[in-house]
Symmetry: C2
Subunit: 407 residues, 2 copies
């Protein structure tokens, strides 16, 4: 497997377009469309929030059906959540706009939204956006990059990645893009992610790979603990790589899953590092836990704690806050077994040794904490399970962005 | 029942003292002692965090035993959490200092700590503080107020309250004090609270009343979602009111519970309003929910959401964030049943009506949101259960305080 240039248009048959539809922002693109020249099998994961946006419910119906998926339309101005029947009508109108413009059935068109909750979408602008984008669909890297920029909200950088790998002598390509900056918390984290591959694979196996990979990547990031109404990840596979179709969990399936994990983990980490107001990536790694579930619970509690996040912002090696977060996570353990370290590109420092604090050099701690990415590394000495979670620091800018979001 | 002046020294036989022991702060008091002239039955609630401070474990042993409790010593500099055996030794040395100074058995002395986690306490300063305070013990209102100030950390105001009520023709007094500003989240919230009463009551019934009342008061507040290692509430009853002892759940028990609820709710709300960096009290009231558990879950999710808290800070009637928090709370409901209102001293505004957003006057919304206390009021239209939770807004000052705490 190797990382290659590009994103959502990297795989054969995938095209993208974007435009400024004037839904919320002025002077920037706020709609994107992804289209596969060949109908795709699809898989997806969606928010666990019981208040699901209209578009999430629309997409879940399509992905759960056995029907093919061929296009996705995204807007980054209004979430289309808490919008009642009018919200569903907006989804249908958008999909029918694609049917009219591209000749694909409206029920093979997914729609995704991110932005303000509780506002109605301007349907005529959405449909006009679709009409504008249809003739612009293009398979170039640039078209994919432009789409990854059009789906941004408070993101400060776009997120895209692509890899290629071999399956039975054929080169398969997998590319993706995502956005997400606030309302980010596992199950799903608040995000939109779209992944396109030219792999030939059966639908059930695609879903299984996606679900497994999301559990250890996107669902292990948190920015603010708020699980959005709109989280959506959609993976489309069109088979244009012409590999023998993957129809069982063999070596080929594992090769694909590894590539998918690479792409999803990279996108997830970039989302965490670009959390609203974030100044750095904050990683927690738990090793030698009793169970995988415990390891995940502990890692997520650390990166999810406001007090831990504020300490990371302040470059303060205040390790008690991390132990405190582990303590209320729900996992049961004995603090007398625990070793805790701070790690970064600048070094490693042990600060807690099986129940007892270690007197450490504050200068050295500060040097480690000042890096762009800081890891809290915890050895539980209880078993052999491990997990990593990703988040970001809590900054003045997080408050600024969110105290003044709608206006 | 009527509210009276004073706090922890209001009830007969309760004395308090405080001093500047130089544990963390310079130029302010940082130790307090509460003493009852007569041994007390005690009840308590303690943090659910599995990483419990040494003093929490010390106090749990005393409260769970049938032994009397006669004094509590508090320091507000260092939490004595994650401190191994040395931490336990510090508890014992403090209690033995009280035994020496006041002649009460060391195992009738509770100790409580709040402050930095992972640092060892300077035992000699603690013991010297006890020696200094013993001759200063005083039953005046002023001594109680001074104690309530000595236990503050990042609190901006001290919290104390007292009430009196009649039981069988006798006047009973109940007074308390608490502190808590950060690391505040239910079960227990991060706080220290001490309540003294001259009521005569059996120990088991005292514990039952305390547990019930804490569940609807202190455990319904949140500041930052971080459940501390040190949460402690201790209630002492010395019987000096000379009422016929309460030994069953009769009308007298209910009268006492009502008074206890009044005191605990008042202290809890003051703690929420004084959350680290808070500019206002943020209340969520859920009515007509399917169950009490659901109502509590929903109310706590609203006041616990960073995005909701930031919207409250920004006086932004961005109601989708509150619905989003309800949606990921774990409670199951249909958004098409829900009505959501903003309420404050400046008025009431309905913004969401059974699945559909209401177009409202932004000027009116701003006027309501600008009050010192704002309530999100939600009618679930599912049943008849209700609950209220209290929190505060998320501000620049919260980040400032916590990015730079240890130093």
């Amino acid at each position: 497997m190797k990382e290659i240039k590009g994103g959502i248009t990297a795989a054969k048959g995938f095209k993208a377009a974007s435009c400024a539809a004037g839904i919320k922002y002025q002077g920037r693109t706020d709609m994107a469309m992804v289209y596969s020249t060949k109908p795709c099998v699809s898989a997806g994961t969606f928010t666990s929030n019981v208040v699901k946006a209209a578009c999430v419910q629309w997409d879940m119906d399509i992905v759960k059906s056995q029907k093919p998926l061929q296009a996705v339309v995204v807007n980054s101005g209004i979430a289309n959540a808490c919008t009642g029947k009018e919200g569903f009508d907006a989804c249908e109108a958008t999909a029918k706009g694609v049917e009219k413009a591209l000749g694909v059935p409206f029920d093979s068109v997914a729609v995704a939204s991110t932005g303000v909750i509780g506002m109605q979408l301007p349907v005529e602008k959405l449909v006009a956006g679709v009409e504008k984008m249809a003739p612009l669909l293009d398979e170039s890297i640039e078209a994919g990059t432009a789409a990854s920029k059009a789906i941004m909200t408070t993101d400060t950088v776009n997120k895209e990645i692509a890899v290629s790998f071999e399956i039975g002598g054929k080169t398969v390509t997998l590319g993706g893009m995502s956005k997400g900056s606030g309302m980010i918390h596992p199950n799903m984290c608040t995000m939109l992610a779209f992944i396109g591959t030219d792999l030939a694979i059966e639908k059930d196996l695609l879903q299984e790979a996606v679900s497994e990979v999301v559990a250890d990547s996107f669902n292990m990031i948190t920015v603010d603990g708020d699980t959005s109404t709109n989280d959506t990840l959609i993976c489309m596979a069109n088979g244009l790589a012409e590999n023998d179709i993957i129809d069982k969990k063999d070596k080929d399936f594992d090769v694909f899953k590894e590539a998918l994990a690479y792409v999803c983990t990279a996108l997830a980490k970039r989302m965490a590092a670009d959390g609203e107001g974030a100044s750095k990536l904050f990683e927690a790694t738990i090793v030698n836990a009793k169970s995988k579930e415990d390891a995940k619970t502990l890692a997520r509690a650390i990166v999810g704690s406001n007090l831990s996040k504020a300490a990371i912002f302040g470059c303060d090696a205040n390790f008690g806050r991390f132990l405190c977060a582990m303590g209320y996570s729900g996992a049961v353990f004995d603090q007398n077994d625990v070793e805790l370290f701070f790690k970064s590109a600048n070094g490693t420092l042990k600060v807690f040794d099986k129940g007892t604090p270690i007197v450490f050099d504050e200068e050295e701690a500060l040097r480690i904490m000042k890096a762009d990415a800081v890891t809290v590394y915890v050895d539980m000495h209880e078993g052999d399970a491990k997990a990593t979670a990703w988040g970001c620091d809590l900054t003045y800018d997080y408050v600024k962005i969110n105290a003044d979001y709608r206006s």
